[in-house]
Amino acid sequence: MKSNYAVLLIAIPLLVAFLQPLFSLINKRLTKWVTFLTIGFNFIYSLKLLNYVMANGAQIAIIGNWKPPFGINLYLSPFSMLFATIIYFVALIVLLVYLIDKPTEVDDRMSIATLLMVMASGAITLTGDIFNMFVFVEILSISTVILISFNNKGISFKGAFRYIVLASLGSSMLLLAIGFIYGSLGTLNLASIAYRFNLLNPVYASVIVFLFMAGIMVEAELFPFNAWVPEAYKGSKSYLNALLSGVVGTTGIYVLFRMFITIFGSGQNHIQVIGSVNFNAVIIVIGVLTTLIGEFSALSQKDIKKILAFSSMAQMGIIAVTIGVANMNSINAGIFHLINHAFSKSLLFIVAFPIINIVGSANIDKWEGLGRKNIFLAIAFAIGSFGLIGIPFFNGFWSKMMIVESVVSAGGWMYLVIGTILLSALVETFYFFRIIFKLFVDKKIESTYSVHIFIYLAILILSIIVIYIGIKPSFLATYIHKAAIDLVDKSHYISTVLGVIK
């Protein structure tokens, strides 16, 4: 099975995206079905690739058979394929809901935007070339802006505007960093950058890393660059938020993982201090600040979309901390938590969509008594939040245990870090239990909105996954273990891409 066909994962969605206007002429609903099918194809194909890569190690897909480090190559490794598959899977589930959402006149533009977004995030995980990554980051931010301003109300424009400002700031910094790298190292291929990075003079290197981080932190919703999160999530439809947090957030964190541990880092277990700046501490402080701000501001919110937005920001912060700690257990924990978060957060967003329609508003005070009306949605919401909080036998529990273990074993001022994280986890447990309690309050709710079978299907699939990972996480553990090894093994990365250690 030639691994070069992997480029299809990027090519086909691009092609279909440009053909969308044609399909919309034939039939408005066709565009939705086409998007769904292409992402479906992507998911199945990436699953096959994942199993192939798991079996016989990392592969490269060369485009236009220019040998790296000159041509562009895709790096297919357990780590990248795992995340590509998860992104496509989450997108598939969200599109399942998007299929049956009531048609609007901007449907074709929306399908293009979602296709581009999912393609771009999939491509970022696979690409082996830094400029290629920049291009896809650009596509990602543009399509996110379109998605955010989807139901063209005032609030979504406000969110979209804030996002554009921050995204453009971020991508310009990213471009600057790539320029510096190209100027100093003369290469754009990630592997060769990794190979030559420690030859740079440290101060110069730390400037590059800072600029690069600034670019990526917008997608990863980390502290200074996440001012856009509340408005953006409030503006867009709640199931599309699942895309925002599940897909875009995961990609952002993926890039941080890849760049900090494999490319800029020393690989084996610690990112050494680049220049006089200890980047471990930088990422940990970012993570802790994001978690603290995310959890406490969610505490005082009444709007479910804002609460879930802040909560996803906080979870990203926790995962950033595991990147900062960077010992073997913490990387495993970070990957596991990222996967768990993707599933349970998208489950929560998808469950929130029918509930908002039934209740008529996103304000949780109005949600009282929903459990009495539609028990399935209430239980699904409870499963999602249990998964996120980390109640035993739900998926978040195991990753939270590993996070605590890894951070505590790092010792020193890490106890302060784990203290803040657990304090914010306590706050998160409180406001999720407050919502769950409101669902089961003894009150009557009348509403005519009937929930479509596809939504039930999507919720069912995600709930089963959340519970299955909770009860028997061993199948996922093998994937995560292989991915962590691949992430940490820098020399293997370089040798597979560049053929031989130069």
Partner: protein, 632 residues
Amino acid sequence: MISNILLYTMIAAVISFALGQKLKAVRWSFSALFLGYVGFQLYGLYGQWGMVETHNIFSLGSINFSLNFGITKLGWFFAFFTTIINIMIWIFSIVKNMNEKEERGINFLWILLAGSNLAIFFSVDWITFFIAWEIMTWTSFFIITPGWKNSFKAANWYFILSMFGAYAMLVGIWWLYATPAIHTLNIASSIALLAKLSITAPGTVGIIIALFVLSFFAKSAVFPFHPWPAEAHAEAPDDFSPYLSGIMIKYGLYGILLFIVPLFIQIMKVNPNIAMVNGIPVYSYILAWFGAITAVLGTYLAIVSNDMKKLAAYSTVSNIGYAVTSMFILSSAGVTGGLFHVVNHAVFKSAIFLSLGAVKFRTHEREMHKLGGLATKMPITFLTFLLGIIAAAGIPPLNGYASKWIIYQALLSGHFPFLTTMIFLASTGAFLYLFRALHSIFLGQLPRKFNNVKEVPFLMQIPMILGILSMLGIGYAPGIVLKPIGLAVKAMGLTPMTVENTLMVGKLSSINTAVVSSTFIGAFFFAFAFYLIGKKRHHVEPLDNYTAGQDPEEFGLTPELYHFALKFYEPVKNIFRPIEEKLNIKNYYRALVRNANSFGATLSEMFKLSGAGSSMIFVLGLVVIILAGWML
């Protein structure tokens, strides 16, 4: 063997949830029968000490997660007596739920809770213990608030404190695992290794103990966390409060007996240069003082409370205080006394709460001054409550006295004068509020609206009668319960007290409980002989009372007005008023909650700032991050 008991509990929970709304009686009787079966199985397990079952779930990085259950003497003892009491309570709730609107979820969650209750007592390693602890926390949260608005505030106080404790324990567990000298999840071996570590690194051992003690104290409502039971037990459904205050509040004590007390004993043996006071480590003496303060505070708050379930909840807090104090004396009499008091308290407190539930079932009233004179209307409930408060006050013929006597033996023989005074002050104070409850609910004038109150149905009376019998039985022959306790105490490395069926031998003196009870019965007949002299007494209406010659009807005097129950201990409140203003734990907690909310509000405002404001925050953020990079 244990794991398939737990499996059956899961299945039973689902089956009982599946039973329809109409089959309420079937649901509750099915769960009671099921628990009876579990109790029988547990009885069969007696004696198979040390049998361990492991199920490994998965391993990632350097940790492999596995659930392993084992039977320890302490664990079996707690599991068995909690299951028996749970069966008693479920018989009570069969009838209660038949006549009242029932929340279907409660039964499902309660069976899960019973399962996690067993899992806690049978868990051998910290991961299983923590999993069972968390399941128990969230299931009990949803049972306390089955959709009732006002009980949410009450329950979430309980929930935050227990989750706070649970996270503290989580850090403690992984700290144990992360320190290279210990690096184990098994509870027993972690005690031994930790004791050895205390020689080289007393600081870390101190912090780890503090983390665990924090979590156990939060769950058992000891001093700084004592206000939550009052709200949680009062607002919980009437048949769940006996479970809450009979069993749920004992998990902290189980944790202490499982880990902290044996650890202190090991440290005393292994580590020569530990700071000792009065023959025990300083830490344990301070923690004993926490127990004593809880006892006195619980008593004071119970004296001034006017809601009957709040009163019973505060009395639970103060009884927990006795148990904690006597456990941290680390003498064999202390630990036996504490353990025995835990059992006795579970028995008489669930009897008290069952009778309060029966009163609320009939009168739907919880404020004590609105009740009164129910003794003649509900004799069995009155008798249970009377014997319950006699046991709670620790008065001889009943079981409360036996454990209090052992606690006093421990305190006095261990030369703790001020602790004994505090405990004695608390137990005499206990007599105050217990009598107040008896008077305000059962004696005094019967309000007119309760004229046609009948006794509770027979099925509800069975658990109450069982409660009476067990109180009298343990009071008469405490040996039955003290023998298994002796085994548990020996497992901790202390010599158990010499005990026959009715004789308890302590250091300072010994007591034959059978003789004490028969003296009381003999004295009663002696008094009855005097009662027979003279004319037969004639019956008089309750309102035909001395009212300084004024005819009540003309005076506009109704039984409700004539029943003195509202500000019963106003003088006590006046004496302690100045102290109460200054040092009030509840205001401290409310202030904490207010600050958290306002901190959250300001942060979320930050995201709504316009251009200038948000860019200022942005720059500030960058500066902090870059500084962190350089400085750390």
